[in-house]
């Protein structure tokens, strides 16, 4: 498994989103052009994700 610090920025974001969704029991492959509305993400979830991206 890759360490986050070794990943490219795009892959870091994909991993954060995939991990976030997995915690919501949403198991699907996330691609860069996916519409995350379809995965049920909300504006409040975006706060969590942006904060995680900032701290990655």
């Amino acid at each position: 498994m890759s360490n986050v610090s070794e990943l490219a920025p795009r892959d870091i974001i994909l991993k954060i989103v995939a991990d976030f969704l997995a915690r919501q029991s949403v198991t699907r492959t996330i691609r860069p052009d996916d519409n995350l509305r379809d995965a049920g993400l909300t504006s409040m979830d975006m706060v969590n994700i942006v904060l995680q991206v900032e701290s990655a």
Partner: protein, 312 residues
């Protein structure tokens, strides 16, 4: 004063991608999303002496409560602070307000009783009000057994929970119920039917918006409940005299700011002792985001210390 920089940052994150807001979702989705948000933005790692879960009798069955014993309480018997969380009577719970309650318990020196009143849409209003009132009655009645000072029982709440705290005070007066020593209202709704300048100025883009309030009322209010009912809109009660001393907090960029200020003014005009604070640069629910808004950390501590002083 402009928006606080950390609040600006939060609002920008909230708007990233134009994802659905609360009013575009069902209650279950909003509850889950708010729980996830609270895990990030509520203040964390606040140690208290003890946390106990229990249930107390309510008008329609058991009401769960969580009791926080502060690290440095007032001398025995300890004053009690009954806390009603916000969430538009539809979302939030004991967990979303855990860090806030821990902070208030420690800073106030009170044993804090956080109440999981029934929520809509499963339980329409006024179920939340009746559970909250029942909790106040129960704590007052069992004060001695809980080693609490029945003469220093305060109520507090935020947003819709602030409404509950205000309504519990009004019901206690009307029903000759428990003697309450203090009411602490954080950004309360005091008139759900209001059309104030702050509601118009901050109708959208400031986290808690007009659409979310309308969504909440749609889910929470049965058709027969008038929005001017004083259990929903305590500001509209005719007589506010004889109510407990009040500490009322509003936020500068909150749609509910003006009705909170109006309640403070009406209480003062009725002869009630009032301490009113409008927090500059803040938005609704800032007190619940002390994990990412540094101002909120200090403000929450100050709220607790003011309670400690008032109950000394």
């Amino acid at each position: 004063m402009p928006l606080d920089p950390s609040v600006q940052r939060f609002l920008r994150m909230l708007a990233v991608g134009g994802f659905p807001t609360a009013s575009e979702q069902d209650p279950g989705a909003v509850r889950a999303a708010f729980r996830r948000l609270a895990e990030t933005v509520d203040v964390k790692d606040v140690s208290v002496e003890r946390v106990e879960e229990q249930e107390i009798p309510g008008p329609a069955g058991p009401v769960p409560i969580r009791v926080y014993t502060p690290i440095t309480p007032h001398r025995d018997p300890t004053p009690a602070l009954l806390y009603f969380h916000g969430g538009a009577w539809v979302f939030c719970d004991l967990d979303t307000h855990d860090g806030l309650c821990r902070t208030l318990a420690n800073e106030s020196g009170c044993r804090l009783v956080s109440v999981a009143y029934r929520q809509a849409p499963e339980h329409k209003l006024p179920a939340a009000m009746e559970d909250s009132y029942a909790a106040a009655e129960w704590v007052a009645k069992h004060a001695r057994a809980l080693d609490l000072d029945a003469h220093r029982l305060a109520v507090a709440g935020d947003s819709a929970g602030g409404t509950l705290a205000a309504v519990v005070c009004q019901l206690a007066k009307r029903r000759n119920g428990p003697k309450l020593a203090l009411q602490v209202l954080l950004c309360p709704k005091t008139d759900v039917s209001a059309d104030t300048a702050s509601r118009r100025a901050f109708a959208s883009g400031y986290f808690f918006d007009r659409a979310t309030l309308a969504w909440a009322l749609k889910h929470a209010c049965p058709s027969e409940l008038d929005l001017t009912d004083t259990r929903l809109s305590p500001l509209l009660a005719e007589d506010l005299s004889g109510l407990p001393p009040a500490q009322i907090h509003t936020a500068e960029f909150d749609p509910l700011r003006d009705e909170g200020e109006a309640y403070a003014s009406r209480l003062a005009a009725a002869g009630v002792s009032v301490r009113y604070t409008c927090h500059p640069g803040m938005i609704h629910h800032f007190y619940g985001m002390a994990g990412i808004i540094p101002y909120a950390q200090q403000a929450l501590k100050d709220v607790g210390r003011a309670i400690r002083q008032a109950l000394a």
